[in-house]
């Protein structure tokens, strides 16, 4: 991960165990603001990951502190969140790094298993 290659965790390092849920949350918010429960159902739908409320709000509070998501006005006790420009930037960097891994993995598994 040196020599200018994108690092998987990079800026996500400080998120600790919330790094992976954060990618999912940022991805979920990429097509528009969502409140907590909507994020959980959306993540479950596109990734199959059953995120618990404790994990969701642990990650959301950290993302908000970093300025990667922004809370919007409350609607009937539900508060929607939207991704910020900074959030889009780090998500793009993270996805690029993951893509790099996917590319290498595909190449190596094709050689090894012929897939």
């Amino acid at each position: 991960m040196s020599g200018g290659r994108p690092s998987v965790h990079g800026k996500f390092d400080g998120l600790g165990r919330f790094a992976d849920p954060s990618v999912l949350i940022l991805t979920s918010l990429s097509d528009g603001p969502k409140h907590g429960y909507a994020i959980m159902t959306d993540v479950a739908a596109f990734s199959g990951v059953g995120m618990e409320p404790g994990t969701l709000y642990g990650a959301l509070s950290r993302l908000e502190r970093r300025g990667w998501v922004r809370p919007l006005a409350t609607e009937e006790r539900r508060r929607p969140y939207e991704i910020t420009a900074a959030g889009q930037e780090v998500l793009a960097a993270q996805l690029a790094a993951m893509q790099q891994i996917v590319r290498v993995a595909r190449g190596r598994t094709a050689t090894a298993f012929g897939t």
Binding site: G36, M40, P53
Partner: protein
Amino acid sequence: MGPELAARLSRFLVGCYPRRWRQRYAVELLEVLNQHRPTARTVLNLWAGAACAHLDPAWRAGRHPAIRLRRWAYIFSGIAAVLLVFALGISFLAWREEQGNTGPPLPLSGGIFGVALSPDGRTVATISANLEMWDVADRANPWRLAYTKGDIAIGADPAFSPDGRVLATAGGGGGILWNVADPARPAKIVDLPGPGGVGAVQFSPDGRILASSYGGTVALWNIADPAHPARTATLHAPVPPPATVNFCPNAALAFSADGHTLTMVEDSITVTQWNVTGPGAVARLTTSTLSSIGAGPVAFSADGRTLAGARTTGDTVALSALP
């Protein structure tokens, strides 16, 4: 875990997050929980989340110093309460043990090696490995007043001072002076050194001199101040016992009624008398050998002129008139 219990625990755990965290997120998190179906996994996840938030400096930093102070006060008072309970428990156990040490006579388990009656006839001191004090004012109902543990090792006859306020004990661990002004609370005053153990102790009739014997030797102590006994003379018997038997429980010391003569019998066979006219002025008077006493414990009559010896076989006592 049933869904109802999981939901209740989940709501409870939301209340366990740090205050600032709750002010910001609790309402929406509770709303998510209303829509979500909580399971045991949800409960565990919230518990871990609350713990994480408490460890996160971001949720602690802004807390008012008074709140932090209050939290530390809770923690310290909790620790203090636990320590207090322990201290009270230990005190209670000690008190109960002390209570258990008084009472009517108990069956003897280890045997008694020495006994002495106080000058006023109201108290008996017995020596096993321990010192026990007994109230015998009512002869029919002796009552144990006190019990001290393990100071004496194997003991011999103790001796009361003429005024009954000090008790000297002899034993394998050396000699000990005890303050027994209150017989229910014997308090150790000082140790009397005696290499290999002290075999016998005796006070002079005026209570100013204490004689202690060990290994064929008698030490005379000025105990005008019992807390600081001063050794005034060391007397050697002509026939010391074998070096391997330093501690000789079958020894006895007696002062004559006028306090001028000290008699020692050791190992039940060798009797030595000294003229003890005063500290520093001592002279051996006689040494004789008695073969009729037997090898058991020995004791003098009040005037120091008759020696009683217990035989180790049978249940007889031999009396011998001293020269």
